[in-house]
Symmetry: C2
Subunit: 170 residues, 2 copies
Amino acid sequence: MNLKEKIRVIDDFPSKGISFKDITTLLKDAKALNECIKQMAEKFKDLEVDLVVGPESRGFIFATPLAYLLGTGFVPVRKPGKLPAETVKYEYELEYGSDSLEIHKDAIKPNQKVLIIDDLLATGGTMIAAAKLVEELGGDVVGLGFLIELEDLKGREKLNNYRVESLIKY
Amino acid sequence: MNLKEKIRVIDDFPSKGISFKDITTLLKDAKALNECIKQMAEKFKDLEVDLVVGPESRGFIFATPLAYLLGTGFVPVRKPGKLPAETVKYEYELEYGSDSLEIHKDAIKPNQKVLIIDDLLATGGTMIAAAKLVEELGGDVVGLGFLIELEDLKGREKLNNYRVESLIKY
């Protein structure tokens, strides 16, 4: 199955000049969803992953089924104020201003092998933040998985300390 | 396995007097996550579901693995401005002010059997909004599934037109 054909490209969303990759057309297609979750799991099944981490909110869509298939737990990385217990926070720069992500302090044990999953690799900012949070807790980031990679934005270069896998490239 | 024991209750979050049910302690436990996804799927496997819908963002955590196990597609219901194509919107009242949710207009075909999954049944407001959106598109809401139900808040009464299932009750 050609998963890329299931993605809908919407011009000028969320702002002028951006060609948004709409994954909802893939997600609603039972066969395509099944196939993409299986393909992601296949790419990481040799790693003996202990935990799958996913950033809010589209990362959740793929991270939990991956955790299910790989037989691991799932840990959410969230925007500030959403996680109820003690957290660590990572702040990162955006084109204008900054953003931050949090993880529960007790979410990961030292040396656990962690796979981080998100829908889209663009500039890599969100994924770096998620990886730093995992490492701050002593976790070992063994892989980063994406449904879509925007190659022109060179996020992969920023992530060159890690094993990076993506299913669909633009 | 007693899934309820895996939930962590945090007092006075997000505000004074609220006992927040923290699901992250269940999610990070591989066996508990596996068990709760299987139990949810078991409750709805007789329904011949066509699509699983999940509201942003904790609904995503359970809705996609359910879609995977039931062999269906997944459709996200999101906060305004997040979905890139044409949407329908449902506005609902909160204690102070209002909130709204959107779904893509082409997400559901008439008469498709739709299961809606969320993490928590409290007053039922979010779930009513999601069900109305599905019905506006002609979908047939065949079931509503929750990980946790707060019985004192009587959300189930508001949802009495639907089949409601929950795994953990407080």
